[in-house]
């Protein structure tokens, strides 16, 4: 399935976006350009829409604004997270202010009175206040999913997204630096399923690398790193693979299950062995006590 890029590039989609923009509620004189361009792009989509043709967008603003003034709650506008925006509420009218904070984590609002049903296309001559804009407005009860399920899910998803720190990307590029190398590399952690794969890939990238040996057990799930083995390798090898986690600490790669590692890793550093021996004192002590 083709994925639409974040930046709307195809002209048809751009037109749809423009049409949506026509119905956006904004402060300001009808037809005028807005001072705060960033807020403009952000207001109801949560995306930074860089649009060169700003002038075209606002040509219809006059009509839209006066419609909004009526206070008629005729349509629900579509937002990035799909909130059904109640037009009667003040924060929507003041969209530039609400824009920067509001959109990303709103749950789907289930208004106590169902919003007016709007046909997705002008069907059998029903009155359509804004022409084609109605095609993208939310329709009551569509898609046919229980509201309970929707609400639960949005809470789950937004929480997951917050925790993971990324919303819809399916790749996870991190910088890899190696002590002494003139430049850094980048790897996509999502393309690997285990430490073994990662280390062999890094090995290829930085050919004098020896980390592959201790991670080659095929660590998955809860298998713990064999600490004694590590100790041996640390002694023997020149380099050690470390990573910076979300808290900014430098950690030894291999302690935690792979999936947890990909969630926590911000960047990788291939450290010289001599420096690394100061890194894992717990590990070394454990090995000593076991021996």
């Amino acid at each position: 399935m083709e994925k639409t890029p974040d930046k709307i590039s195809s002209s048809s989609e751009k037109n749809e976006v423009l049409n949506l923009k026509e119905t956006e509620l904004r402060l300001g004189l009808p037809g005028s350009e807005f001072l705060d361009k960033k807020a403009t792009g952000f207001s109801l989509f949560g995306k930074d829409l860089k649009d060169e043709n700003n002038k075209n967008i606002f040509s219809g603003a006059k009509r839209v604004f006066s419609d909004a003034i009526d206070g008629s709650n005729k349509w629900g506008l579509c937002t990035n997270r799909g909130s059904e925006v109640d037009l009667g509420k003040n924060d929507v009218l003041f969209s530039p202010r609400g824009a920067n904070g509001g959109v990303k984590n709103t749950n789907i609002l289930q208004s106590s009175h169902p919003a007016k049903e709007v046909p997705p296309q002008p069907v059998e001559g029903k009155k359509d206040e804004n022409g084609s804009t109605a095609s993208k407005a939310q329709v009551v009860g569509w898609p046919p999913i229980r509201s309970l399920h929707k609400n639960r899910l949005t809470t789950n998803l937004s929480r997951n997204n917050d925790v993971k720190g990324k919303s819809e990307s399916s790749c996870l590029y991190v910088k890899v630096s190696m002590d002494g190398a003139p430049y850094l590399r980048k790897v996509d952690l999502k393309t690997y399923c285990s430490y073994a794969e990662l280390s062999s890939a890094l090995e290829k990238m930085f050919s004098c690398f020896t980390i592959g040996q201790y991670a080659s057990h095929g660590l998955r799930g809860k298998e713990d790193l064999n600490e004694c083995h590590l100790m041996d390798l640390l002694d023997r090898s020149e380099y050690v693979l470390t990573y910076e986690d979300k808290d900014g600490d430098w950690m030894l790669v291999g302690d935690v299950p792979w999936e947890m590692f990909t969630d926590m890793c911000k960047r990788l550093r291939i450290m010289k062995g001599s420096e690394a021996s100061g890194l894992a004192p717990r590990v070394i002590e454990k090995c000593k006590s076991q021996n």
């Binding site: 639409t4 009860g141 999913i145």
Partner: protein, 591 residues
């Protein structure tokens, strides 16, 4: 369908009209035996047929019926039911039309169970089971339920509203013999989790406990003690407030569980805890159903692997898993019969299903982001085709997607001709075949022509009247049809009403069907449970005509605020022996 339950008896027993008195007469042989034989009949359809044979059989049947099923609570009244059936111990009641799930029915529409309970308290003191779907239930009603029936055992509330956790307190406090408390898809006033602590300390009869749809935290110690005491507990579905390490403790107490709904699956576990959780799961040898998995992060999925081999039903509809981690999990589930997932698993995940689950019979794919207007991620026709290739036993599908093709659907039904339930939702209303730009008529044509056992169908995409011609002509076993944003003219609906001999429920929204279509089904509606039409082209006048000509139908209209006076925005038509509703709110016009 009707097998004669008593072939020898029919020759001997007299079928005279005064046999009502002879029920207690000298010769016990015919009636007692008849009663005994009939008591083995469980199916409502069979019982219905039996009751029509003759008066003897009607009476024998009504005296032996213990389970009552009412598919539309307004089709009959509590009084009628109480008069006809004296010995009911189990009641199932369904209320609002299904589209109320999607906010198409205003609040306070009705379907209040209260007067039913008041009647039951008088007539059925030995009531044991109550199962409600889409009904309004008040705390007061729950209080009656808890106190008026000393032998009450099983309460199941699905998609109900109107009560609070106070009502649950009554149930927990007073129902000494409760075996089942099952609350699903229910949005209630959840004040706090204190209700759970109201089960008495010597109470241990629970077999089913499902409070997954309640949000607030329960007292974990009380829950743990409860689970320990209930040795027959086989279904436990907890809510999000239960953490992983708490779950582990519960599993230790109840390794006999057959159905488990976990709590939150996201927690910083210490290494030891991970191992404990894993062994707790592997100790549950009887686990058949797994659900919950709120906020799951893939890190902890491996704890489930050991328990997955025996799973027949996996419900991941709240777990936003991606294709790789989902693929890893599903590889451990070779015995799966039913699977519910989110479309975050994408086509790749569904391919894994096709290759890992050859016994799959039911698949439901829900959209994680139903209002995602721009990116349209999720699953496509390819995922569906992949599942159909690997899972030839598939007969129930609910599939939400953004694109589909006629060719794909044709392939799917060729691979799986045994569909009984085919519910396809292309989330952009009126979307054509995205490759050929043609309507999706041929897709559903293929479905109804190939799947002769089809009972339930939901259509979507750009559809002309041709789809409905196909349906009317070929869908001989179709009982439920859901239509939205489809059709070109009255002809479409007419085809369905004139064909489809077994049609029971027809629900339509936003279609160009008008008065001619509505009125073409005059005779049909009495054979059906109900018809729903909203945002179509029907006028009040036509509804009035329908009501006039068919007095045994209830014709109800709800109007939207801004429409013309003549428009019947929402029409609900159903057969009833109880006459028009007496509890209709002002916005429901009964014609």
């Amino acid at each position: 369908m009707q097998t004669d339950p008593n072939p020898k008896k029919s020759k001997d027993s007299p079928s005279n009209s005064d046999s009502t008195e002879s029920t207690q007469s000298a010769s016990p042989f015919p009636d007692d035996v008849l009663g005994k034989v009939l008591s083995f009949l469980n199916s409502d359809k069979d019982r219905s047929s039996v009751s029509l044979v003759c008066k003897d059989w009607y009476n024998a049947e009504r005296w032996t019926r213990t389970k009552l099923f009412i598919g539309n609570c307004y089709s009959v009244s509590p009084e009628i039911v109480a008069t006809r059936f004296p010995k009911i111990t189990s009641v199932t009641l369904k209320g609002k039309p299904r589209f109320s799930d999607f906010n198409l029915v205003p609040q306070n529409w009705g379907a209040d169970v209260h007067y039913w309970l008041v009647m039951f308290a008088k007539v059925y003191p030995f009531l044991e089971e109550l199962r409600l779907k889409r009904m309004t239930v008040s705390d007061e009603s729950l209080e009656i339920l808890a106190t008026a029936f000393p032998g009450f055992r099983a309460l199941s509330l699905m998609s109900c509203d109107g009560f609070s956790t106070d009502g649950l307190k009554s149930v927990a406090t007073h129902c000494r013999n409760l075996t089942e408390l099952d609350i699903q898809d229910t949005d209630i006033d959840d004040f706090n989790g204190g209700w759970l602590s109201c089960f008495p300390e010597n109470f241990g009869s629970l077999e089913v406990l499902n409070f997954a749809s309640l949000d607030s935290e329960v007292n974990f110690d009380a829950l743990e003690r409860l689970v320990s005491r209930c040795k027959s507990l086989r279904v436990l579905k907890v809510n999000k407030s239960i953490t992983l390490d708490q779950l582990q403790r519960l599993l230790l107490r109840a390794p006999q569980l057959m159905e488990l709904g976990t709590g939150s699956f996201q927690q910083e576990l210490l290494p030891g805890q991970f191992g404990d959780l894993e062994s707790a799961f592997s100790n549950c040898k009887n686990l058949r159903t797994l659900s919950g998995l709120w906020e799951v992060t893939s890190v902890y999925l491996p704890v489930l692997y050991a328990a997955c081999t025996s799973l027949t039903f996996l419900n991941l509809s709240y777990a936003a898993l991606r294709s790789v981690e989902f693929g890893n999990l599903i590889a451990y589930c070779p015995n799966l019969r039913r699977l519910w997932v989110l479309d975050t698993v994408e086509d790749k995940g569904l391919e894994a299903v096709g290759s890992s689950c050859p016994l799959l019979e039911e698949l439901r794919v829900f959209p994680a982001d139903p209002f995602d207007q721009q990116l349209h991620r999720g699953v496509t026709e390819l995922g569906f085709v992949a599942v159909s290739r690997g899972c030839s036993k598939l007969h129930y599908v609910l599939y939400f997607c953004w694109q589909m093709t006629n060719a794909a659907v044709a392939t799917i039904v060729q691979n799986c001709p045994n569909f009984t339930h085919f519910r396809l939702c292309i989330m952009n209303p009126g979307r054509p075949d995205y490759l050929t730009n043609e309507p999706m008529d041929e897709a559903f044509g293929a479905v109804v022509k190939t799947c002769t056992k089809l009972q339930r169908l939901s259509v979507s995409g750009l559809l002309t009247d041709l789809t409905f011609e196909y349906i009317g002509k070929h869908a001989k076993n179709l009982e439920t049809l859901s239509v939205a944003f489809a059709g070109s003219s009255d002809l479409g609906m007419q085809c369905v009403l004139e064909g489809c001999p077994k049609l029971r429920k027809l629900e339509i929204r936003d279609c160009p069907f008008g008065n001619a279509a509505l009125l073409s089904g005059l005779e049909k509606y009495e054979k059906m449970r109900s018809l729903w039409m909203s945002s179509c082209n029907v006028t009040i006048t036509a509804c009035q005509q329908l009501a006039r000509e068919m007095p045994r139908l209830n014709v109800e209209v709800m109007k939207d605020k801004e429409s013309d006076d003549s428009q019947a925005d929402k029409v609900y038509v159903y057969r009833s022996v109880a006459g028009p509703r007496r509890d209709a709110p002002p916005f429901v016009l009964t014609l």
